[in-house]
Each structure stands twice: as structure tokens, then as C-alpha cells.
């Protein structure tokens, strides 16, 4: 019977991912006895703390001997079987409870069903995690202290020193929650916001924004950031920044839009929309498509901003993009287009774009009900604008069969009604027989 040998070379305990827990250092660091090792009396308390520590630390480099082979999670109550293999108590109980009478790893039949608590391993686990925890706490405190230091430095320095300070602060804030709290508590948000203005260089602007997105901003801070000159600074970075900087800008703008004091005119800027469209169309960085489209959708909800979106020619651009997007992105794009189609300029712009109808027809019953709903609504708006012209195009691209599909499907009643309405509209110019022939499933749909 093949036996799984724990890798024991020269007194080393194999650790996960190259982290070796050797005996010497283990003794020196006090993992073996000494620091944190308690008697059984403190068992329960330690267990609670251990669970908390494991969760907080969320480490990926836990030594493999501490990991339960069944759940692949660190063990908080290790028990050993008669085969010598150790498991997390709750997991092995479940295994045995399912009727298995074997050792999960060695596949041996158990000759004894006793579960021996592996105190030694438990102590080691506790000590190791405690150590890690203490170290992390120290780093956090350091982070907190360092963050305070950096904030006061920021008030003094200029030029290159300022950029360096900001860079370090941004790193701290993204890695340590204590740094984040420190910055917020010590008025760091106001200080950072004050760096945004009409003369902010790109280096400073991008670092400030990268830092701000990691912080919780109160309503006042958001109101402060919504000042026109600061918004302009953000838009500038969105326009000419690296992909990461752009994504940070998108996140920041979304946070600002979340605030109940938000007014649409804060972001009523053509430059913002042009920058957003550029992000959405950037083929080199597809990870920007979803965030960009999500923000565009949020913007299109506001009536007064729809005209701006149309002014920069976004409607035909979105139509052209749709075939290249993944489903979630398509849904966002369709939402925006439907919002735009509710305005008269939108209807006109969509009608003028030759690819609108074919693209929308293709999307019917293709991706999801929501997408179908959007596409249907857009088609209705456009066709109602110029019924004769549009309906012939639509019919040629196979809309009839698709609409029949919708009507026969399990979609909502409203959708079916809309489909019926559109079908009627399209059929007006055709004789019955002609139209019936168009209703057959054509290659376009297959």
C-alpha cells in the first residue's frame, strides 16, 4: 500500500511554497515552545483567537503540514487517525459520517476509529500564526506611523520630493488598512484634495487619485472634490494617463456620483466623455472596457448628460464596438444606447448609423433577456422614427423570425407585446405572403 511520506529531510519540516520551517529557526523564533505556547487550559480561548487570526491574515504561504488534506485550509483542531495522518476534526468527522471507513489520503482501511487530538501540531500552528499576526500588527502600526509621517512631509515638500512622498503614501494606503484610517483621521483627504487644481502636473495628479480611491470619503470630502477645478484635474488624468491611472479616475468618479449631494452638472464635460470613449475603445487594454462602460451607463442615467454623449458621436461608436465586446459589456452598452434612444437626437443618431438595425437584430434572443429587452426597445424607437425605411432594412436582416421567437419564448409579457408591435410595424409594407417568407428561419439566425 503506498504510504504518503511527509517530506522530512535533515530535520526540515516541509513548508508551503518554499517556506521552510527548520528546527533551528523554529527554536530560535520560539515556535517550538516558548512564546505563545500555553497549556490545555487556554485551549478554547486560543482556538477562537486562532480562527480570527487565520481569517485576518489570510496568508497563502501557510506551511503545508498545517493544512488539512480534505479542506486545504489551515487546521484549527487537528486530530490524527490510526494511520498517522492528521486532519481537521470537523472534516474527518464528516468523512466518517458519510460512511467511509478509510483514511482519505492513504486510502488504507481504518483498523481503529479513534481520533487522537494532535496537541503538538496544534501548538505549532498557534505559535506560527501568532508570530505572523504579531509581525503583521507591527507592520500595520508601522504603516500607520509612517502614513502620519508622510502626511506631515507632504505639507512641507515640493517638486520631486513631493512626488516621491505621494508614491510611498499610495503604496502604504493600498496595502494597510491602518494606514488608510490614519490618513482619513488626520485630515489627509483634504490635504490630498488640495493638491488637485488647475496647475496639477500629471505625476502628482495620478498619485493623488490612486491614493484617494483607496480611502473612504465622507460626504464633505466628496463635495470638496466635486469642485470644478478638481474635477478638471481628474478628467485630465483620465484623458492622458496610463491604463491604471484611468481606471483609478473611473473609480473615483463613480464614488463621487454615489454621493447624494451629487449634481449632474459636475461632470457635464465633453472632455470627460471623450476620454471615457477612448478608454472603452482602447483595444490594447481590454480591462478598461467594463469599468468604462459601467461609468458611461451611470452617466447616461442622467437626462441632461445624454445630449453630451450624443454630441461626441458616441452612439455610432458604441454600435461599431458591440460585436467585439463580451456579454457583460454588451449589456452595459445596450443600456446606454437605450437611454440615448429616449431622446430625439438619440433616435436620429441611431437611425443615421447604418449598422444599428443589423446589430440590434443580431442581438435579439442571443445573450440574455435584458439584452433582448434593450435591443427591442432601441429597434422600436428607431423604426418608429422612419417606419418605411427602417422596417425594410430590419426585415432584410431577418427581424421577423427573431420577433416570432421572442413572442413564443418565455420572456416577459411586456417584451412580447413590444415584439408584436414591432412585428406589426415591419409587416405593414409587405404583402402577407412576402412577409411570411421572411419569417422563415434564415441563415442569419442559424
Amino acid at each position: 500500500m503506498p504510504m504518503l511520506q511527509p517530506s522530512k529531510k535533515n530535520g526540515f519540516l516541509g513548508g508551503g511554497d518554499g517556506r521552510v520551517l527548520d528546527l533551528d529557526t523554529a527554536v530560535k523564533d520560539g515556535v517550538l515552545g516558548g512564546v505563545g505556547g500555553g497549556g490545555l487550559g487556554t485551549g478554547v480561548l486560543e482556538k477562537l483567537d486562532l480562527n480570527k487570526m487565520i481569517e485576518e491574515l489570510n496568508l497563502s504561504t501557510v506551511p503545508s503540514v498545517f493544512i488539512c488534506p480534505i479542506s486545504l485550509e489551515p487546521m484549527t483542531d487537528p486530530v490524527t487517525l490510526c494511520t498517522g495522518q492528521t486532519y481537521e476534526k470537523s472534516n474527518i468527522l464528516k468523512w466518517l459520517g458519510m460512511g467511509h471507513y478509510t483514511c482519505p489520503t492513504t486510502m488504507q482501511e481504518l483498523w481503529d476509529d479513534m481520533l487522537t487530538p494532535n496537541n503538538t501540531l496544534y501548538q505549532l500552528i498557534c505559535t506560527w500564526f501568532s508570530q505572523q499576526y504579531v509581525q503583521m500588527k507591527k507592520r500595520s502600526e508601522n504603516a500607520q506611523g509612517r502614513a502620519s509621517e508622510l502626511l506631515s512631509t507632504l505639507k512641507r515638500v515640493k517638486g520631486q520630493a513631493r512626488i516621491q512622498t505621494l508614491k510611498e503614501l499610495q503604496q502604504l494606503v493600498s496595502n494597510h488598512s491602518t494606514a488608510r484610517t490614519a490618513v482619513v483621521d488626520e485630515g489627509g483627504v483634504a490635504l490630498l484634495s488640495s493638491l488637485l487644481g488647475p496647475f496639477t502636473s500629471y505625476a502628482i495628479g495620478s498619485e493623488v487619485i490612486a491614493t484617494l480611491v483607496n480611502l473612504t470619503l465622507c460626504s464633505d470630502s466628496k463635495a470638496n472634490l466635486m469642485q470644478p477645478s478638481k474635477v478638471s484635474a481628474v478628467i485630465d488624468v483620465l484623458n492622458e494617463g496610463s491604463i491604471d491611472a484611468k481606471l483609478n479616475c473611473v473609480r473615483l468618479i463613480e464614488t463621487l456620483m454615489d454621493d447624494k449631494g451629487f449634481r449632474a452638472e459636475t461632470i457635464s464635460s465633453h472632455s470627460l466623455l471623450v476620454a471615457l470613449m477612448r478608454l472603452i475603445r482602447d483595444k490594447r487594454h481590454p480591462n478598461g472596457h467594463f469599468p468604462g462602460l459601467a461609468l458611461l451607463k451611470s452617466i447616461s442615467i442622467h437626462n441632461e448628460l445624454r445630449i453630451l454623449i450624443l454630441n461626441i458621436g458616441a452612439a455610432p461608436q458604441l454600435i461599431e464596438l458591440i460585436p467585439f465586446l463580451n456579454p457583460e459589456c454588451i449589456e452595459l452598452a445596450l443600456f446606454t444606447l437605450e437611454a440615448l434612444s429616449s431622446t430625439s437626437q438619440g433616435k436620429q443618431a441611431l437611425k443615421d448609423c447604418p449598422k444599428t438595425i443589423p446589430t440590434m437584430v443580431k442581438l435579439l434572443m442571443r445573450i440574455s433577456e435584458i439584452c433582448t429587452a434593450h435591443a427591442l426597445s432601441i429597434l422600436l424607437s428607431v423604426c418608429k422614427l422612419a417606419p418605411e425605411e427602417c422596417s425594410s432594412v430590419a426585415v432584410e436582416t431577418g427581424i421577423a423570425a427573431k420577433l416570432l421567437l421572442v413572442i413564443q419564448s418565455g420572456c416577459s409579457q411586456i417584451l412580447k407585446q413590444q415584439a408584436a408591435e414591432l412585428l406589426k410595424l415591419c409587416s405593414l409594407n409587405y404583402s402577407d405572403t412576402m412577409f411570411l417568407s421572411k419569417c422563415k428561419l434564415t441563415r442569419t439566425i442559424q
Binding site: P198, F199, Y202, P228, D236, E240, H270
Partner: protein, 382 residues
């Protein structure tokens, strides 16, 4: 024998020629390669928008500034400005006294009238006498006349140059025999740019190693026939368009057009030019300091373009609000005049005060950064 000698000489001349040609072609190639790396910037804007002041500032910041001889060469200009100013004020007071009902406030006192007439006459000549202490005294007396001060307060109807206050205040210093103009004096000097002026410079940065070379062109003087020569500037890296935003209430007496509307038309025209399809546009909203002073006293809606403006608050906030409104109007205008395929051009708006050297330096640093990033982006490195 002679013919042999001749042909030998011919041979030598030929090889000399070939060598020379090769050298010339080599030089042409080198220089064209160097030319490609020089980024060209074009200053545009209506008259009195501050283009030439920006030009002078760049010269002061990134070149060796003005040497003594150049500074002294501005003395006639400065003196001319003074004469022109006082003439405009005096003539203006006469005009206003005719067109206003309560004309008495524009009536220059009798003693000063004579001075006024004399100075006005001087001001209409083509050449001006050097400022003597006597003339200085006369100017000062006239300046202090109530009527002249009243006229000054209505300066939006006249063409009183901004330098008026500055020069009159410094009159004593400017009329000294050994007077050498300061940098600031030169910046205020107003002279109509004729032809094209250009300077080549390299923006000096903190680490001193900046490879970019810029060449700045100021074509201020030409008012008409722009469409004939504007295409010569195709391929220019960026257009710096200067618009003096304090001019929203200033009209030209001759044809009653508002200065800012003229700027608006010019901007629209420039944006639509095919030669600028790929050019970056840097809009300098200039004379911000004068705008700040004016906007709280004169509402923006006096200008047709801004008639839908509504003041929101007061004080500093109001100034910012008004500025944002103007900025938005220019932005709207830009996007309205831009075809969809040009929408990817770089377009940025900066608020400037061309007379403030520090501000110009800061602004230009940002312009330089934007252009650099654009280059990197186009090279696919960003």
C-alpha cells in the same frame, strides 16, 4: 597640349563639384532630420489677446532674455505707448462728452484743454519726441483731470491699452535720461507684431537633460487673408490659442463688434481648418487677473455669447463660477466645431496671466508635459 590641360582641370573641377554636392546633400539630410525633431508651436489669437506677451515670456524664461541693446530698443515703443494712451484718453473724453447727456463730467478743464490738444497732436504723429520732464509734467497734470479719470472708467468703449496705468505710474522713471527698460516694462510694451517672429528654445527641466526642442511662431500682425497662409503651418505640433477673457464687455467703436465674439469666431475658424486636423490645441484663457477684477462689477451677460449666465454666489466663489462658465462655453464651442474623427486631438484649457512670469512658466511646464505624453502615446509607449 592646351586641351589636355583643360580636360585635366575639368576632371579636378568635376570631382570638387561632386564632393561639394555630396557635402551639401549630407548637410541637408542632417538638418532635415534635426528639423523633424523640432516641435513647432503656433501662437494664434485675435489682436490684443496677449500672444506677443507670451512670446516675450518664453524668450525670457528659456532663452537668454533680452540683452541691453534689445531692452533699449524698446524705449521708443514705450514712449509711443504713453503718447498714444494720453491721446486716446483725451480724444475719448471729447467723444464721450458729445454722446452722453451729462457731458459735463467729460469736459476737460480749460487749462488742461490746451495741454490735451498739444499732446493729442503729438500722439497722432508717426514719430514721437523723447519724453522730457516738461512733457512728463503736462501728462501728469492732464492725467489727474477729473474728465480724464471719468473717461478711464468708461474704457470698455475705447481702446485704452492695459499698460496705461502701469506706465503713467512709472512716468518719472521712464523719462530719466539714462533709462533702461526693465523686463516688466518690456512685457507691458504694446507694439503691433508685423510678419512672423520665431524663437527656438529647449525647456529646461530639473534634471537638465531635456531633448525636446521647440520653435515658437508668433504671427500676430496679420489680420486678414489668414486662409492664404495658414496652411503653411500644417504639421505644427500644437496651436497655442490666446483668448483674453476680460474683453467680454469691450467693443470696437468702428463696427460695434464685441471683442470676445471676434475671438470666438476666430477660434471656430481655426478649429475647422483641415491643416490642423491632427494638431493639439492649447487654449490659453488669458488676462485672468483683469477678468477677476471685472467679473464682480460687470455681469457676464453683457456679452451675447454668455447671455445665459446666472451668478451663483459672490466673492471668490463667484469668480471661480464665472470662470468655469466661460471655460465650459469654450469647451462646447470646441466640440461643436470638431468633426468626430478629430475628436482625439489633444485639447486643454489653461488659465493664464501673460504678465506673470511664474504663472507662464508653470503653465508652459504643463503644456510641455502634455505634449511629451502625447508623443509617447503615439509611439505606442504608453
Amino acid at each position: 597640349m592646351g586641351s589636355v590641360c583643360c580636360s585635366q582641370q575639368h576632371g579636378r573641377a568635376d570631382s570638387d563639384e561632386i564632393e561639394q554636392t555630396a557635402e551639401i546633400e549630407d548637410r541637408i539630410e542632417r538638418e532635415s532630420k534635426a528639423e523633424e525633431h523640432i516641435q513647432k508651436l503656433l501662437l494664434l489669437g485675435s489682436s490684443d489677446s496677449g500672444k506677443s506677451t507670451i512670446f516675450k515670456q518664453i524668450k525670457l524664461l528659456f532663452q537668454n532674455g533680452f540683452d541691453d541693446a534689445e531692452l533699449k530698443s524698446y524705449i521708443p515703443v514705450i514712449h509711443a505707448n504713453i503718447y498714444q494712451t494720453i491721446k486716446i484718453l483725451f480724444d475719448g473724453s471729447k467723444e464721450l462728452s458729445q454722446s452722453f447727456s451729462d457731458s459735463s463730467r467729460f469736459h476737460v478743464s480749460d487749462e488742461n484743454k490746451e495741454i490735451g490738444e498739444r499732446l493729442s497732436e503729438i500722439g497722432s504723429r508717426l514719430e514721437f519726441p523723447y519724453l522730457t520732464p516738461e512733457i512728463v509734467e503736462e501728462i501728469e497734470t492732464l492725467w489727474q483731470d477729473n474728465a480724464i479719470q471719468e473717461t478711464l472708467s468708461c474704457s470698455n468703449k475705447l481702446q485704452v491699452p492695459h499698460c496705461a496705468h502701469y506706465y503713467i505710474e512709472n512716468l518719472q522713471r521712464l523719462s530719466n535720461p539714462g533709462y533702461v527698460p526693465t523686463k516688466e516694462d518690456v512685457l507691458y510694451a504694446r507694439v503691433r507684431t508685423t510678419g512672423v517672429v520665431e524663437i527656438q528654445f529647449s525647456p529646461v527641466r530639473e534634471n537638465k537633460r531635456s531633448g525636446e526642442v521647440y520653435r515658437l511662431f508668433d504671427v500676430g500682425g496679420q489680420r486678414n487673408e489668414k486662409r492664404k497662409w495658414i496652411h503653411l503651418f500644417e504639421g505644427v505640433t500644437a496651436v497655442i490659442f490666446c483668448a483674453a477673457i476680460n474683453e467680454y464687455d469691450q467693443t470696437l467703436l468702428e463696427n460695434e463688434t464685441n471683442h470676445l465674439m471676434e475671438t470666438k469666431e476666430l477660434f471656430e475658424w481655426v478649429l475647422k481648418q483641415p491643416c490642423f486636423e491632427k494638431t493639439s490645441f492649447m487654449l490659453f484663457l488669458n488676462k485672468f487677473d483683469l477678468f477677476e477684477e471685472k467679473v464682480l462689477k460687470v455681469p457676464l451677460n453683457v456679452c451675447d455669447w454668455f447671455k445665459d449666465y446666472q451668478p451663483a454666489s459672490s466673492g471668490k466663489q463667484e469668480i471661480e463660477h464665472a470662470y468655469e462658465f466661460v471655460k465650459k462655453k469654450f469647451e462646447e464651442l470646441y466640440f461643436r466645431s470638431t468633426s468626430p474623427d478629430c475628436v482625439d486631438r489633444v485639447f486643454k484649457i489653461y488659465r493664464t496671466n501673460a504678465l506673470d512670469q511664474k504663472l507662464v512658466k508653470k503653465t508652459f511646464k504643463l503644456v510641455h508635459e502634455t505634449l511629451r505624453r502625447r508623443n509617447l502615446f503615439e509611439a505606442g509607449l504608453l
